[in-house]
Subunit: 601 residues, 2 copies
């Protein structure tokens, strides 16, 4: 097997032709970078992914972390990859120079992780968690915290985590009970349990640094009483030596997929000696954590897309090489069989995968581009891009997470019975990708966030800004006769989205909040389709521009292929909104009205 | 955990109130049976499922079959379950008395297997395979074959298999190469390899009996040269002793799910001593095998539905017991949390599961009812029901197989992170259910069969008969004021299905067969939605009838719950056909036109 997992040509197309990464270099904040440097980043990442991560994909799945003697043992490659991620500057890639980072645009800086995700998702999450933890400390930690923790997180010596979930709370963060009692020396004594903590303990880092949500004793109930703490597994004692900080692993989960990374149950302060350090101000923990959560949500979108990408290339290779059957017009059994990629149904499944993967990647890069613009712009412009980013983030998490499952399922299906067996990596990708609609906020939670918060914030300003962005794309595409019809379809789709949105807002205004939010998940689905159609139209504009500049034969093939995927999205995926549009307009509150006890049998 | 896996109340509702099992007893062929006997069958099956199969579900997944010393070792419960299936008459349940069977209507007789599937899918397939193998021998085997093999298959001492797939052929059965050379004694010498053979070898049966497709040397190429053979692992020698028949296991597959049953690679005649016995006439093997295949396709539909049912009850129990969050209208964090089943989004996911499961079961039971009618009726009536059965079989395989995946995925999602871990059985059900769109003919193959063969056969007669059946249901429901609007929706949906079908037939008539079949899978999806909507309308008619007869409080709850699921199907599932309708009407041949080499990157 060739084991290809991403398309470099597509990454460069997206980066330079769709999102014009060069334009970011014009800002002084990014001026030291260059296209050559960006190319080098991508190429190095693919080399690392193929050489050092992909070879361990199956092995890490078959030999998941073990919990023994009170600690968690993971594959030894984790230590070397953490080290490499530190030395190569991958962990700190988009942190500002001021915090010891590389200050690469996020548009570019998310792509190495995407590439690592595609090569070996479990392996990729270890350094990825450090990036988020270090950013939180950079933003809100004390100078001492920054001095002690950030270099060791960026170097990959220590492991960062995000510790939120508790057994009795789950998605309902306001119900967490882990407590923090002020100690005279300025730190807090921590007491409580956390569950589902990724990389919450393992033997390939010298220390674990938890960014943890807890309640200071006497804090207000609910979300308003949550503070952010830094709680290391080992703390420095007065003599400057690392000593055990009473943070123990109670166990690990046995998961269906994503098996190379340990998801842990943790216990803090069992022996009354767990020190925690308040990050930022008391009772503001949730808003701080949301910074990390927003990055984490985009990370999940990228990861789902990446796994789907790896699955696609495995399916493509099989489809090109596996002979079976004949053209429906030529059933002569004495003729040789044809590769299955010649069958329309296989092409359909491959196109569907590309439509999902390249559409998702586009939406995610749109988000990272907006994020960069919030960094380099100020005032109203900055606010505009921040609003667009906030609105699109739950969609850029959810569309790839949900559709990534379908994409990998199609990839598996291309291999028939072999897809179901571990002779090929498809069955693993299918198991791995299923985590994404669950972690970092389930699809249900993202959907309530989208409709209940992002749509309504600032009187719908973000939504109107997005409609303007879509209209801009429509206008541009309408100037291209080949694309005018598609532009019209997108405009219609956006109009329907607006109609549904206004209908729902009307329900909210009448005060029926339960009904307003009841079908939020289906509203998310509709929104995702429209958002990705918009991204496909942007890609088609870039493709046609490139074709007009008379590219070489291989490039021309790439662009022509893209146009088929674009047509596929508009022909096969966009129509799915029709049913959603109809049901959201006609929703009669069935799920609100039905009493739970009618599920009696 | 309660470990409920099926609803007895729903099974009885379907059997007696929707499909009027009592009406079958009026025919002399089934006259010895009674409602009481049917009840007993269901209740005994649920008892066996819960007591003897469900307890091994996880254990058989975690300890899959081992291939060692040239043979396959499976869980010892298989032997006792095979014995029990023989003694209890489960294997021969719907075989005619003349062949030693119980002659139970198939409408009833498929349900024990459904119940066993839901309790433990892997365990259930062993005796299930015997049923199919014995039926083939009954129908086409010699008197001697029937005497030797059928009693031992019905008793569960021997294991039957269906051996079709070969490495170089896969779904393209015309390309199989296993050969059969006539021997002077009347048997054939077999030579070849088979792959993906379920229960193709194991140590819990005293012998394995393969119903195997092969080519007699000199036979015509392709499908027209395929014959059916009986090839035992051990054959009787002249002295009446069982001796090894040169049928060896080359290996077993390591599968993502369905891990309790061995899927084998087999080798026949490696030492030139494998005897095979021709079943029926030479070169007619494929048509014979299709009898078994049709039963097998319904079995797959039942199995997918059954796994989804088990997943639903696990999710329901969790949703009823897990407190988390509060009503969206009451965010007071000092109030206790509510069970998640109170959240609209969870209710939506539970309703979706029931809509799929109970809709699928209905469609499958419609097929088995038709099958019974072909047994007891004659002439035009018999032909009518045979045509309806032939038309619906690929749909009754595919809708449950494809939608069962979504159903189990929703069940898993209800449990959040726990659904992804093996603390609960959801992750196993998710892995198990994924086999169904693959085995016994992939979704792609079923779809081409539906559109390319079943729709066009006898000038579209089967399709017109089905439209009449749907119209009958519409007429009945229109007489009920509560259902008239839904009846109108179904009539519209059927009209759209007809429009799409006629459009596609038009393409075929113009000779563009590739284009005609290119989107067969999406046509299947559309058809499945309409077929299940029809079944839901039939259920609603039965529910309203029952409600008017003033049932007791518990029964009333059941019926009221049903009506919500019915409304869910029409409100949330039926609209999905809108996008499919649009895209099938507007199909521009994208997947036919695109050259395979444009998938270059």
């Amino acid at each position: 097997m060739k084991k290809k997992f991403v398309s470099m040509q597509n990454l460069k197309f997206m980066l330079y032709e769709v999102f014009d990464a060069a334009s970011l270099i014009q800002y002084s904040y990014y001026e030291e970078h260059s296209i050559e440097a960006f190319d080098m980043i991508l190429e190095t990442a693919v080399k690392i992914g193929g050489g050092k991560l992909r070879p361990f994909l199956e092995e890490m799945d078959k030999n998941p972390p073990r919990f023994a003697d009170g600690s968690v043992h993971v594959h030894p490659m984790v230590r070397s990859f953490m080290k490499e991620s530190g030395e190569g500057g991958w962990i700190s890639i988009f942190a500002p120079h001021a915090h010891g980072g590389q200050q690469v645009p996020i548009l570019v800086g998310f792509l190495p992780t995407f590439i690592f995700n595609a090569a070996n998702y479990s392996a990729s999450i270890y350094p990825g968690l450090n990036t988020g933890a270090a950013h939180l400390i950079s933003s809100y930690g004390t100078e001492a915290m920054q001095r002690i923790y950030i270099p060791r997180l960026y170097s990959g010596e220590w492991q960062g985590t995000m510790a939120m979930t508790e057994p009795q709370a789950g998605s309902s963060l306001g119900d967490i009970t882990t407590s923090a009692t002020p100690a005279p020396e300025g730190h807090y004594m921590m007491l409580g349990h956390k569950i589902f903590i990724s990389a919450g303990d393992h033997d390939c880092a010298d220390n674990i640094v938890h960014l943890l949500l807890a309640r200071i004793v006497g804090a207000p109930p609910g979300l308003k009483g949550i503070s952010l703490f830094l709680v290391p597994k080992k703390r420095f004692n007065a003599g400057g030596n690392l000593v055990f900080n009473d943070a123990t692993v109670a166990g690990i989960y046995h998961k269906m997929g994503y098996r190379g990374a340990p998801i842990t149950q943790l216990s803090f302060g069992e022996n009354g000696d767990c020190h925690g350090y308040l990050v930022g101000e008391a009772n503001k923990g949730l808003s701080y954590m949301f910074q990390m959560m927003n990055e984490a949500r985009l990370s999940v979108g990228f990861a789902a897309t990446a796994i789907a990408s790896a699955a696609y290339y495995a399916a493509l290779e099989y489809a090109q090489e596996r002979p079976q059957g004949r053209a429906v017009t030529s059933k002569d059994p004495t003729q040789p069989q044809i590769p299955i990629i010649e069958h329309a149904d296989i092409k359909r499944m491959l196109l569907c995968q590309r439509a999902i993967i390249e559409g998702s990647l586009s939406l995610l890069m749109q988000c990272t581009k907006y994020s960069d613009l919030t960094t380099v712009l100020t005032g109203q412009e900055k606010e505009k891009y921040q609003l667009l980013l906030d609105l699109l983030t739950p969609i850029a998490k959810t569309y790839p997470a949900e559709m990534g499952i379908l994409s990998v399922s199609h990839a598996l299906q291309c291999l028939g019975g072999y897809g179901y067996c571990d002779d090929f990596p498809l069955e693993q990708y299918y198991r791995d990708v299923r985590i994404h609609p669950i972690h970092e906020g389930t699809t249900g939670i993202q959907s309530i966030t989208l409709l209940g918060r992002c749509i309504t914030m600032k009187n719908g300003k973000a939504f109107h800004l997005l409609l303007e962005e879509i209209q801009d794309a429509v206008n541009t595409a309408q100037a291209d006769t080949d694309l005018a019809a598609y532009a019209g379809e997108l405009a219609q789709a956006a109009e329907k989205l607006k109609e549904v949105t206004n209908g729902l807002i009307g329900v909210a205004i009448k005060g029926n909040i339960e009904l307003f939010l009841a079908d939020a998940t289906l509203y998310m689905e509709l929104f995702g389709i429209v958002a990705v159609a918009w991204q496909w139209l942007l890609q088609a504009v870039a493709v046609n521009k490139a074709i007009r500049s008379k590219p070489g034969e291989d490039d021309l093939k790439f662009y022509q292929g893209k146009l088929y995927v674009f047509r596929y999205f508009f022909g096969y995926e966009l129509p799915k909104m029709e049913g959603l549009y109809r049901l959201l307009l006609n929703a009669d509150g069935l799920t609100v009205e039905m009493h739970a006890d009618l599920f009696s049998d």
